[in-house]
Amino acid sequence: MSQRPMLLKGGRVVDPSQGLDDHVDVLLTEGKVSKIGTALPRPEGTEEVDCAGTVIVPGLIDVHVHLREPGGEHKETIATGARAAAAGGFTAVCAMPNTDPVIDSPATVGFVAAAGREAGSARVYPVGALSIGQKGERLTEIGELVEAGAVAITDDGRPVMDSGLMRLALEYAQAFDIPVADHPEDLGLSRNGVMNEGVVSARLGLAGKPNASEDVHILRDLLVAELTGGHIHIQHVSTRQGIEAIRQAKARGVRVTAEATPHHLLLTDEAVEGYRTDAKMNPPLRSDADRDAVREGFLDGTLDTLATDHAPHHYDEKEQAFDDAPFGIVGLETVVGLILTHLVHTGEMDLSTFVERASVQPARAFRLPGGTLVEGGVADVTVLDLDREWTVDPSLFLSRSRNTPFTGWDLRGGPVRTVVGGRTIWTLAEGSRS
């Protein structure tokens, strides 16, 4: 790394990892945070960035994205996904393994890691499959996957239906100090459901997935984590009962971390009205009471990690009858504006808690570099303008896909600069630099 040092000058630094919220300068040298302090002098050859009026935070990390490569390059590639992440203010993302082929071998993990490095944008951390082929039968070579760069294992996209296999994963993974991430869903209870089971599904004549389909597996995961002492990371929690169960498990010391997605924080199944396939995702958007519970859990830290579950799909895959359209929406390029507008500016959540959920805790949960601006840490930084006003326009996305239910939303606040390893990879003014 021989890029010029960078001095971020005049900004407000918010870093809950060290209890910092102050107007200080940040000096990045050789890929590391080398100094934080007031009125830092500019060393010879240093690029100075005027950060007056902006907020400097440890680089945001999304532990749950689908980058679709290999096999789904018409939806997204590792490179386009990494650039979309950067444009959304993320310095790192964790790529889910439900690709074609599945990321279940050291070679495929290595491929994702290498493609991520090659993209030269946001860092891309591979997540390995929990079971071979995500078939839910036999564990992958978890040690080898970790060696090749995997930071977690999961069968996301589908649940681990065999509780015995979940037990083995939670036991075996402990040797490598990685979380076991689970998409909690009892397929017997969700049957052929395509949306939340409730009044809206009853009216639209669409098959529903009841809350219980998620709750049963959350409870199962918590109990098996408790049994084994393993670290369970529960993905995209959407039900009030599931959140209550996680809250209680945390209180009794179970090693559990859990995600809240922007769409489960902000939308309900009413968004499906008119058979809108851009509101079709799994787990589905649920009731008002569930949405309120997701918010409450996100505020009190029961849901400690903000994750988008970025799930790109080609437009003609979504332009279908609701039953036929695939599950998932993109999230990387809208989440910061959505949360700032609807949780931070409304006074529900303070800025430092937002940074805790979107950077500090994801790094901690997945044992990743970053999530802090302490001196000596990686120089992964996101610069936010809390007041810039913008409107969600999918045609401007760097992602290859446009499937979002937030089109046309007026937002206040968003990233203006994303820095990875001391190098600016994206700015609002100039776009992607990779």
Binding site: E197, S201, R203, G205, L206, Y275, A321, D323, D324
Partner: protein
């Protein structure tokens, strides 16, 4: 000629979207068309020169034939496209189907599709009028309209009348359209069936829920008995047809215990001996064949109104048709 008023708007997707007045307009417009079907020359020229495509992506002989009769009696040119032997089943998406229809400059599409929301999907994408002939488990508005017309013929004003829909409410588009239509016309609506076949939250529609057919019969002025699809047994929703008949089958013995004569409707095709016994289907309280007759009249009314006709002109059309 003045600009057509379009009392129904461009499409008929479902009864949930219609007002009570719009529903009454359709039923009133069906009256003169009923009479046309009784004549020797059963044709009026009101849709002459109009092209209607019947797009049936799910087999349904009855509904398709009923629409075809309605279209021909209105002198429209019709084309049938069905899922067997055409491109629609060879992986062509609904979007492409819509674009092709649009390119062919047709006036109306009658669509039957296995997916809920398909009719609306099409309606939003083509300028032609779209009539929903049943989409998934969502709605089947013309079936409910003919049910309403038949009920009105026999019960008069439906306000305060009690109609119970019996059977697989969960998967039934007929049930949903009936519930909306009946509620809008002021009827009290009941549903009765095994809990496995009732959508959770159905109470919020404003309907009475009966777990036992005996209670429904005691309560109702009319029963609309749905066909039990045999797939429901494979799906495990009901243990056996025999048990379904034992618990939910409508029989003469059960009807005899009712405090009043209960009118019997069934959208067909019937599973005799499953949801309905033969002596009930063929008995004096059954209006099942009248439903079939009314089906053509109601569909004529819907097509006519969507094409820009007005209820008043339907009378005139009837008289003109006589001369033709």
């Amino acid at each position: 000629m003045s600009e057509p008023a379009r009392p129904l708007g461009k499409d008929l997707v479902g009864l949930e979207d219609l007002s009570a007045d719009q529903i009454r307009t359709i039923l009133d417009t069906a009256e003169p068309f009923k009479e046309i079907s009784e004549r020797r020359i059963k044709k009026v020229p009101v849709l002459r020169g109009q092209t209607i495509v019947n797009l049936f992506m799910e087999p349904s002989t009855r509904t398709r034939i009923s629409f075809e009769f309605a279209e021909k009696r209105l002198s429209a040119d019709t084309v049938n496209i069905s899922s067997t032997g055409s491109s629609v089943q060879k992986g062509e998406t609904l979007v492409d189907t819509a674009r092709n229809l649009e390119a062919m400059k047709i006036d109306m599409v009658v669509i039957r599709h296995w997916a809920s929301g398909a009719a609306r999907f099409l309606a939003e994408r083509i300028p032609s009028n779209v009539v929903n002939a049943g989409d998934g488990s969502h709605e089947h508005p013309t079936q409910a309209l003919l049910d309403l017309l038949t009920l009105r013929d026999h019960l008069g004003d439906l306000a305060g009348r009690r109609v119970c829909v019996v059977g697989d409410i969960l998967h039934s588009r007929v049930a949903r359209s009936n519930i909306w239509g009946l509620l809008k016309l002021g009827a009290e609506v009941g549903v009765c069936g095994p809990r496995t076949l009732l959508p959770r939250g159905i109470e919020s529609f404003g309907v009475e829920v009966f777990n036992r057919i005996e209670e429904a019969i005691e309560w109702a002025d009319a029963l609309n008995i749905l066909r039990l699809q045999l797939e429901r047994m494979k799906g495990g929703f009901v243990p056996s047809l025999r048990e379904y008949n034992r618990v939910y089958g409508v029989s003469t013995a059960r009807l005899e215990k009712a405090p009043r004569d209960v009118l019997i409707l069934h959208p067909g095709p019937m599973n005799r001996g499953v949801e309905i016994d033969s002596d009930v289907a063929d008995g004096p309280q059954s209006v099942i064949l009248k439903q079939v007759t009314n089906g053509v009249a109601v569909r004529m009314a819907v097509l006519y109104l969507l094409a820009g006709g007005s209820p008043e002109r339907a009378e005139a059309a009837k008289r003109r048709g006589m001369g033709g």
